[in-house]
């Protein structure tokens, strides 16, 4: 049992350190050129198409994928380094991140060859954006409850229904979605869902924005009305998407993005307390640094498991459970410590703005990518409790 919970101390190999230098230099150039402000995670528009293309041109998209699809056949550990440097710098990754992390790997595994040849190289060039269509009104984490129907017709399927909480649907070129192709059976509630590649900006698809409490706009409702999808856009097995969708989640749940989303407030707190902190600030910062270090060690370890070809579903769930709760609490702990920061701290205003935004961001962190409750169910299953 405990054998499943080992997180071996994977070290990043030398090529990762060289790559890290390149990524930092690139980000510094982009910051200097005004592409984005690393101190402003709350900027209005995080979709910066030119930035995506530059990242693609550097070879930092589709890093682990085969070269024949535009990939670079590099390791998961190299990809890990790129992801964490982008995240810590608050780089505008929205346009490419979902495709790179999740949609591309799904296409690699389940799409027909000509679709792979058409789409994957464009992801690698940073040209196209993906959204993920899983949740529906009143379904959420309960994927079985999805009702949006795909009805067989000549040469394809007609889609009717609504997806919701779909990040980036308003800018996405494609969506990978699950639709109901058959009713669930009595023996198997998981039966009857199929994964499809959806081309957005086509007739029968309407995207309605949903505002967020942060003031940002990222979620959408996506309404399908007799939208046609051709047969060759079916991904994997008809009626068998459940297993495909769950194995996809190991990629989604263990990366550095799962504990670094509010990390910027910690950096800014260290700046605000200065070189000679009082004992309370020092202890508070020390604990937070020990915690983030530990989570990073766990996350790197899972990247090592992915590199070794394993499917660390339970380990990834543990990293996300601990990681998202940490990044959710972080702005509140920083707020407590910031109460004692000198009025004269030059970055006080930046810190306050960041805290305002991070505290508003916090509630979503334990919901996106699998709620805490769902993750704990997966971990409990791994422990043999269900």
């Amino acid at each position: 049992m405990t054998a499943a919970l080992r997180f071996d101390p994977i070290r990043l190999p030398p090529e990762c350190e060289q790559l890290r230098k390149e990524v930092r230099a690139f980000l510094a150039e982009e910051i200097a050129a005004g592409t984005f402000d690393p101190h402003q995670p709350n900027r209005e528009d995080t979709d910066v198409p030119e930035f995506s293309r530059k990242v693609g041109a550097r070879g930092w998209l589709g890093m682990t994928w085969p070269k024949k699809y535009g990939g670079h056949e590099r390791s998961f550990l190299e990809r890990y380094v790129v992801t964490e440097e982008m995240r810590v710098a608050n780089a505008p990754t929205r346009r490419f991140f979902v495709a790179d992390r999740q949609s591309g790997p799904v296409l690699l595994k389940y799409a027909p060859e000509h679709i792979k040849m058409e789409i994957l190289p464009r992801i690698c060039r940073g040209e196209i954006c993906f959204a993920i269509g899983m949740s529906e009104p009143n379904s959420g984490s309960d994927l079985f409850a999805a009702k949006t129907r795909a009805t067989k017709t000549d040469g394809g399927y007609l889609i009717n229904g609504t997806k919701i909480w779909t990040s980036s649907a308003h800018i996405a070129d494609y969506m990978i979605a699950i639709f109901r192709t058959s009713p669930p059976t009595k023996e198997n509630r998981r039966h009857g869902l199929t994964q499809f590649l959806v081309k957005m900006k086509q007739p029968g698809i309407q995207v309605n924005p949903i505002g967020q409490i942060t003031g940002q706009y990222e979620f959408n409702e996506v309404v399908f009305t007799d939208h046609f999808i051709p047969d060759d856009h079916v991904l994997g097995e008809i009626d068998g998407a459940w297993k495909q969708a769950t194995s996809e989640l190991a990629y989604e749940r263990s990366g550095p993005e799962r504990f670094l989303e509010t990390y910027y407030v910690l950096t800014e707190l260290v700046r605000a307390v200065g070189n000679n902190p009082d004992i309370r600030s020092a202890e508070g910062i020390g604990r937070l640094v020990a915690q983030v270090h530990t989570m990073r060690r766990m996350s790197v370890s899972v990247a090592g498991m992915l590199q070794a070809g394993k499917e660390p579903v339970v380990e990834a769930s543990i990293v996300k459970d601990i990681g998202t709760i940490w990044e959710q609490q972080l702005p509140h702990r920083v707020r407590e410590l910031a109460a004692f920061v000198e009025e004269t701290a030059t970055n006080r205003e930046t810190l306050e703005k960041q805290l305002d935004f991070a505290i508003k961001t916090a509630p979503k962190l334990t919901i996106q990518g699998g709620t805490t409750e769902v993750l704990r169910g997966i971990i409990a299953r791994g422990l043999g409790l269900r």
Binding site: S281, A380, L385
Partner: protein, 355 residues
């Protein structure tokens, strides 16, 4: 139990399983289990694992020794194995041969100091020294008037020892040296300091805490699958499942932090900021995990886990006690916070992402 990494750890694991089974220990109110266990450990060369063969030890690698400590934590053994290993390691830093028998290190807290007097004798007071009462010898780190550090082997019989007990019921004593003539004394190697000794001890304790948490997870999962309440196994209640998932998370975090720190020290060429971060973070995070994880293990066990007859307290109370040795998590958090502040905000991420 996690599978062992090497033959040295496998040997330790087997000895613990044969002679330090928690139920046997609990039934033996007179502690008669300790002598055969210590003898078996000694016969296997484990107390002096970190001492080279020419200094009387068995010359295991740092990594092998660390995995022995993980196993010791999984069994929550209450004999001075970690302490004797640390003492042998400290003496070996100054190429002082280790004697046989139980040892421990002095001082065991970052703020205590032992002084080398002008006449070469040692004076000072050290609190919270684990197993001082049963140790035959102490490995002492002491500084002279100029601040130069020495490592000394001291006969425990020549020191005053006030007995105390830690939360887990193991000896945690006050040791006073009043112009004690050491058996041997040599200069500490260049660059060695008290922080390094404390952090080596801290990593040992982190591995022990992580091991204890692994066992707490295992016995809690097992108990939840046996205990029936409201006509169901309690493992079938979602609230219990979620608590156990959190315990698994704390256990995994402790193990990840502790094994990463052990690996960092075992492979370090210098004791730099990056190695400091690893060692300190492990002590802090494992202490937090001991608190959160131990509370869940008790919650799952209900009243039975609160009884002296049950084995749970062997793990939960020791894990809590080990937080305090070789510098508490609060002490090290302050030190880490100071280091981070001195390096400055823009150097924090490069430190965290250094390996």
């Amino acid at each position: 139990m996690a599978e062992s990494d090497n033959i040295v750890a496998e040997t330790a694991e087997k000895i613990f399983a044969d002679l330090a089974d928690a139920q046997t220990i609990n039934r033996d109110k007179k502690d008669e289990w300790k002598a055969p266990l210590w003898q078996a450990l000694t016969d296997a060369g484990l107390p002096l694992a970190w001492v080279s063969e020419d200094c009387g030890g068995s010359g295991a690698s740092l990594a092998e020794g660390f995995s022995v400590l993980s196993a010791a934590g999984r069994f929550a053994v209450a004999v001075p194995l970690a302490e004797t290993m640390l003492a042998g390691w400290l003496l070996a830093q100054a190429k002082i041969a280790s004697p046989g028998g139980e040892m421990t290190v002095v001082p065991a807290s970052p703020r205590d100091r032992i002084t080398v007097n002008a006449d070469g004798t040692l004076s000072g007071r050290a609190r919270g020294v684990p197993f001082a009462k049963v140790a035959k010898h102490f490995a002492v780190l002491a500084s002279d008037a100029r601040g130069d550090l020495s490592i000394a082997l001291v006969d425990a019989g020549k020191c005053r020892i006030e007995s105390g007990l830690n939360l887990g019921g193991d000896p945690s004593d006050v040791v006073t040296l009043d112009k004690v003539q050491p058996v041997a004394i040599k200069p500490a190697p260049k660059g060695f300091d008290q922080a390094r000794l404390m952090l080596m001890g801290g990593v040992a304790r982190s591995l022990q805490i992580a091991g204890a948490l692994e066992s707490m997870l295992e016995i809690s999962v097992r108990y939840s699958n046996e205990r029936v309440a409201f006509e169901k196994k309690i493992s079938k209640f979602q609230a219990v499942q979620h608590n156990l998932a959190r315990l698994a998370g704390e256990s995994a975090a402790a193990l990840a932090a502790a094994t990463s720190a052990a690996d960092a020290i075992a492979n370090a060429t210098a004791f730099n900021d990056e190695v400091f971060l690893e060692a300190v973070a492990a002590k802090i995070r494992c202490a937090e995990a001991a608190e959160k994880g131990g509370a869940i293990a008790h919650q799952v066990h209900g009243a039975i886990g609160f009884t002296i007859e049950h084995i749970l307290h062997r793990y939960s109370l020791r894990a809590l006690a080990w937080r305090d040795d070789f510098g508490s998590d609060s002490y090290w958090a302050v030190e880490l916070g100071k280091l981070v502040a001195q390096r400055g905000a823009d150097e924090l991420w490069p430190l965290v992402a250094s390996r």
